[in-house]
Subunit: 219 residues, 2 copies
Amino acid sequence: MEELTKKQKAILDYMKAHVSEHSYWPSIRDIQAKFRFASTNAVFGHLQALERKGVLQRIPGAARAYKVAPEATVDLSETVIRYEGPDENSLEVSNIPLMGSIAAGFPDYTESSGVLASIQAPISEGSRRRPPQSFALRVRGDSMIDANINDGDTVIIEPGVPKHGDIVAALIDGETTLKRLIKQSSKVYLKAENKNYPELYPANELVIQGIARSVVRPI
Amino acid sequence: MEELTKKQKAILDYMKAHVSEHSYWPSIRDIQAKFRFASTNAVFGHLQALERKGVLQRIPGAARAYKVAPEATVDLSETVIRYEGPDENSLEVSNIPLMGSIAAGFPDYTESSGVLASIQAPISEGSRRRPPQSFALRVRGDSMIDANINDGDTVIIEPGVPKHGDIVAALIDGETTLKRLIKQSSKVYLKAENKNYPELYPANELVIQGIARSVVRPI
DNA sequence: ATTGACAGTGAACAAAGTTTCATAGAACAT
DNA sequence: ATGTTCTATGAAACTTTGTTCACTGTCAAT
């Protein structure tokens, strides 16, 4: 696949965003206005380039009529996600593209300092309007089946400070496990959602990797 | 909600199917040709009626530019997409609600025939190992609760030719619904997975938007 | 009988939108 | 030096497409 120039990519992204937002394609003049071109022909050339490079298909003569080439994306249901620890780089994430136009799925997780959130010290406030850096974990075991999270499911973990009752990904004995967080009289416990494992794990110094926000189950 | 006439429904259906297949809206003359009208004004009147009844929104003067009402049983979920604007350094983050644009902007991934999947004529031999382009749909309603897909869940749809027993997103009466595909003695049915709705929907000309591969359930 | 919604024909217009032509600077490789 | 690619301007030609006007007919309800 031939590389796109910066402007070409920007135009293509704008077109996809326009479709997502308005449900119809922009006209050449719409693009021209967006990018402050003085001539429609500037856009025209870019569109020709996008078509030549195989990422866009135009329907000659038809207004607001395009098709986009599918991008190389990974289906979430087939993605094997392994997560070893907060400071490892072996984190595979997958995009769920919407109409093939998503530009930012789950961002890379390498820029974080390592610990997502600690109970004692809430994470820094500095995340300005950035999508949460969620990641996925494959569930092994049956410790959460009473919460309808089964072996083989994938949970989406969102970094943050958990509240009482949240299901969290926590680091216990060097392993990441999925447990429900219980705060009782200024004490903190981790509880498995399985009648066979009724214990509460007391936690003094707890490293929370994130809060489980959703479960992905293959059909 | 005001009732649609048979023709109005058919036209709306065709428009949605056209978007689903080609990823752009049909022009008035496209619709005219499809329904063998002798005048474009016939279509024009129907479009006005559809807009008056609140199921279609036209953008005056713009070509091939419409929006559909957000009352499909399955809805696109929200997403955040990011694209680069004309200023090279400013990264715009735009929230895309995508309400009601269910029929719009579905990618055409067969590049030749345009049809995602037709029951009678499965797509051409082009079994190029191209990664499928999945997208997400939010489920409304309880028609699939026996398949453990509940109201509020999000399903990941993967374009492709469905097999017998697959749960598919299909276009019925202009709406995208989630049903199980049943092939029985060279006939094709759509079946709801709910004991209260035991019917099989016979399907002659079926537009399949994709196969449900996984369910995402918020915790 | 008459009204009003519904459905359509046929022609024509004007705006919207695409495409082509001529031209040219900057960056880059031959 | 020279050609190529990318990017862009400015104007014009041309096609597509939405829209309007005038008119006809059907059907059900008032």
